[in-house]
Each structure stands twice: as structure tokens, then as C-alpha cells.
Symmetry: C2
Subunit: 224 residues, 2 copies
DNA sequence: GTATGATTCAAACACTTGTTTGAAATGTGC
DNA sequence: GCACATTTCAAACAAGTGTTTGAATCATAC
């Protein structure tokens, strides 16, 4: 059954890639776990890279379409623009829910994503950027309205702070400090905390970027 | 000359590991860059893992001792406890300065650190935890005084948000969104922004953890 | 049934990996 | 000079890598 082994290969590869990394995982281990023959990978996906691309594309499309759906809903209510908290929720919640929901592949996908970035494969990077950057650009544009004082460049790398925090929260692949996956707090709770954390950080940056700082006292009250 | 090739191997390995990852970099490439013989690695470091450990230890000790030195200074002024901003500076600035200073190996080390975490080598993880976690514990203890409302667990994974943002800021190894290393903003500036970002986020979390929320209005004022 | 295409399979291919070996070279102390 | 340990080197080793091959199996249509 053709589609069956294709699917089993994808599942096995996702699981093993996320645990061991892409370049580190041998094809033979994947095919063994999938109960398929070694040559099946090259038959169905052309090459190992082709398999990796397909594994990533499956989940990435799912995640990004969910994010954009939420963003569309927020922008549809066009009488009042979306708040920063709402935008951050639309960006963060789908990722965390997906990373914690075993039915969707659990946190495997996110670990895999982090690993894929860490690997230096240029083709893989280009592939990921093509499937990712347009979403981030749309969110950046939407957020710039909620953060009027920050210019584009400033907002972009503050958003990188957020993405960095999100990635760590999802993957927790360091294990050097906390151990979220042991505690297993539900995704919504962590998302709430991360949204508040990011909103406060971005707002503080926005306030600091203002030429006159009317909220300066409030920041001192909070951050001092 | 013994110490010479040892040093050249370490330098070459650090450079290549940070660009390509540890498991992905062949020993032959390292020895070629170092102008040494292939067998030199096993002679001087016992194995490839031994070389990787030594590469990491060099920089990690340097970074952590700088962090702890600053923390000691803050705790020495024992009449007034350190502020959150000061503690975050002590944690963040050494890492960012090191990551940007070419004389210290540039951002190579940080990329390497991120890669080392991404790789699934259990021995390497254990090694990193042993050389890292005690520093984070000391900072967590110091910060809990500046954030009286948060309990230990809460603080710990909010600190993971900070470390995640810091790692991304240092490594910028995603390249999927912003490109800090193209802009080359100086480390102190980025550190300032990240400290403010993290301080605001942590303070907001602390305020939200308080049973009665007197600063709740201030947060609304900031976080929209 | 047979013919045709899609899929599976065991085997081999060419290549790279980290490590080991044992002899040469170099340095060091006397 | 000699003796001795340290360091370098070319070569080979065993194991693992992704990919290819060509025959065998299966499904489907006629």
C-alpha cells in the first residue's frame, strides 16, 4: 500500500529527527521504525533531504495557517484595531498548543524545528525561510500599529526576543535549568504567561523609543 | 611543538564546530585547518568528544566567571539589595559582549553553544549542565528577592524566557526573520534593550502573581 | 487469464566517519 | 655523543553513511 508506507515514513522520520536531529539520524533507523525497506525513502521522496522537507512542510503549513487564520479574524473586526495582547496570542498560542498536543505530533515538531535551524544545511534554511518569513512579516506589520513609537528595525529584533523565548518554551531542549516538560503545565497557561511577558517587554521598548517619555514613570514603577 | 598544535586544534575546532555543528564537522576538516595530522586529535584529546568538551569548557568558564564576578560585586554592596535591572545586566551583558567581541572568538562561541544544546549528545548535555546550572541557580536566588511575589517554579521558567531571548539575540542562527549580525549593532546597545525587555516582562509576571494587584493598573497602562 | 505500471526488497556501491597502529621525527636531560 | 619520552605522520581499519540497481512482488485494468 503506497500511501501507507509514505505516511509511516513521515511519522517515523518526524519522531526520530526531533529526537536526534536530521543529519544525525540514519535512514536505516527511520525505515526500520516505519517497517519499510531502506530504498523506500529514495523511492517516495527522492532523497533524505526530500523526506526532511516534507516532514517540516506538513507541520509548518498547519501551524502558520492557524496563526494567519487568527490574525485574519483580528483584522476582520476593522472598527477597532487588534491589541498587542491579541496579536501575541495569535502568534504564540497555536505554536504552544501544537507543541503540547500529542494528537498533533506533540512537541516533537517544535524540537525538530529548533534542530532544523541549528543544523547548517543551507537548503533547509532557505526552505524554512520561504515557509516562515511571510507570516512573521504580517505579524510585524500588524504589531507596528499597536507599538507606534518603534521603527521597523527595532520591532523586528524585539520580535526575535519573543520568538526566542517562544522557541525555548516550546522545545525546552536545553534542560540545563528548568524542566517544563516534567511539570506538564497545559499549553494555554504557558501561553498566557508568555503573552504577558512579551507584551510587557514590547510595551516597555515602545515607551523607551518615544522621544518624550510620558510612560517613563510607569516603567520605573514596574521595572525598577 | 606540543602546546602549539593543541591550541591550533582548539581554535580550528571552535571555528568549524560553530559553523557546522559538532557531529557534522569531520575531524579531517579540523586537522586540515589547524595544519595538523589527523591522529593529533586523538593523541591530545583522546577522542572527538574530548576535543568538543575542551572547546566548550574554555569559553564557558570565561563567561560564567565574568557573570559571577558581577553578581558578587552586586551582592557585596549589602546595604541595599541589587535591583532587577542590575541582575539582568550581570547575566546578559557578559554573554552579549563575548558573542560580539572578535578578540574573544566572536559570536562563534555562542553559535557553538546553541548547536551543542541542539545536538542530542547526552554526555555533552550533562557536561554543559554541570558547567552552567549553578550559575543560573545563583541568579535565580538573587532575583527572587527583587521579585517577591513569584514562587521558585514560576521564576524559573520565566527565566527560561529570558535565556531563550538571549540565546536568539546572541546566535541569531535562525536568519528567518531579522539579521542582527548584518547590522552589527554593538553589544551594549542590544544588551540594554534586552535587559529592559526582560525586566518589564519579569516585573509584569511578578505583579500578576501578587494576590492583590496594586500594580495591575500600571500593567494595563503599559501592556495595553 | 495476461499485460502494465507501481511498489517493495535484498544486495551492493562508492564514500565518509572516528579511531588505531607502528614507525619516523623531534625534543629533553645528561 | 647517548638514552628516553614526547610528538608527528602516513597508512590502514572497521563501521556506518546515502544512494543505486535490478529482480521480485503487488495492484489494477483489460
Amino acid at each position: 500500500m503506497a500511501a501507507n508506507t509514505r505516511q509511516k515514513l513521515l511519522d517515523a522520520a518526524e519522531s526520530l529527527f526531533s529526537q536526534q536531529g536530521i543529519t544525525t539520524t540514519p535512514l536505516r533507523q527511520i525505515t526500520e521504525l516505519a517497517g519499510a525497506n531502506l530504498a523506500a525513502v529514495n523511492y517516495h521522496f527522492g532523497s533524505k533531504l526530500g523526506l526532511a522537507r516534507e516532514v517540516l512542510r506538513r507541520r509548518l503549513d498547519e501551524l502558520n495557517s492557524e496563526r494567519l487564520k487568527r490574525l485574519d479574524q483580528l483584522e476582520a473586526q476593522d472598527d477597532k484595531p487588534a491589541t498587542l495582547d491579541q496579536l501575541l496570542e495569535a502568534l504564540i498560542e497555536p505554536a504552544l498548543i501544537m507543541s503540547r498536543d500529542d494528537a498533533l505530533g506533540g512537541m516533537r515538531f517544535v524540537r525538530l524545528l529548533a534542530r532544523a535551524y541549528a543544523e547548517n544545511d543551507r537548503e533547509l534554511h532557505r526552505f524554512l525561510r520561504e515557509h516562515y518569513s511571510h507570516v512573521m512579516r504580517r505579524f510585524a506589520r500588524a504589531m507596528s500599529q499597536a507599538l507606534p513609537e518603534m521603527d521597523a528595525a527595532n520591532l523586528r529584533w524585539h520580535l526575535d526576543f519573543v520568538i526566542g523565548a517562544l522557541t525555548y518554551a516550546m522545545a525546552d531542549f536545553t534542560g540545563h535549568f528548568s524542566h517544563m516538560n516534567q511539570i506538564h503545565i497545559d499549553a494555554k497557561t504557558i501561553a498566557q504567561h508568555l503573552v504577558r511577558f512579551a507584551a510587557a517587554g514590547l510595551s516597555a521598548a515602545d515607551a523607551a523609543a518615544a522621544p518624550s517619555t510620558p510612560t517613563g514613570t510607569a516603567r520605573t514603577l514596574l521595572g525598577g
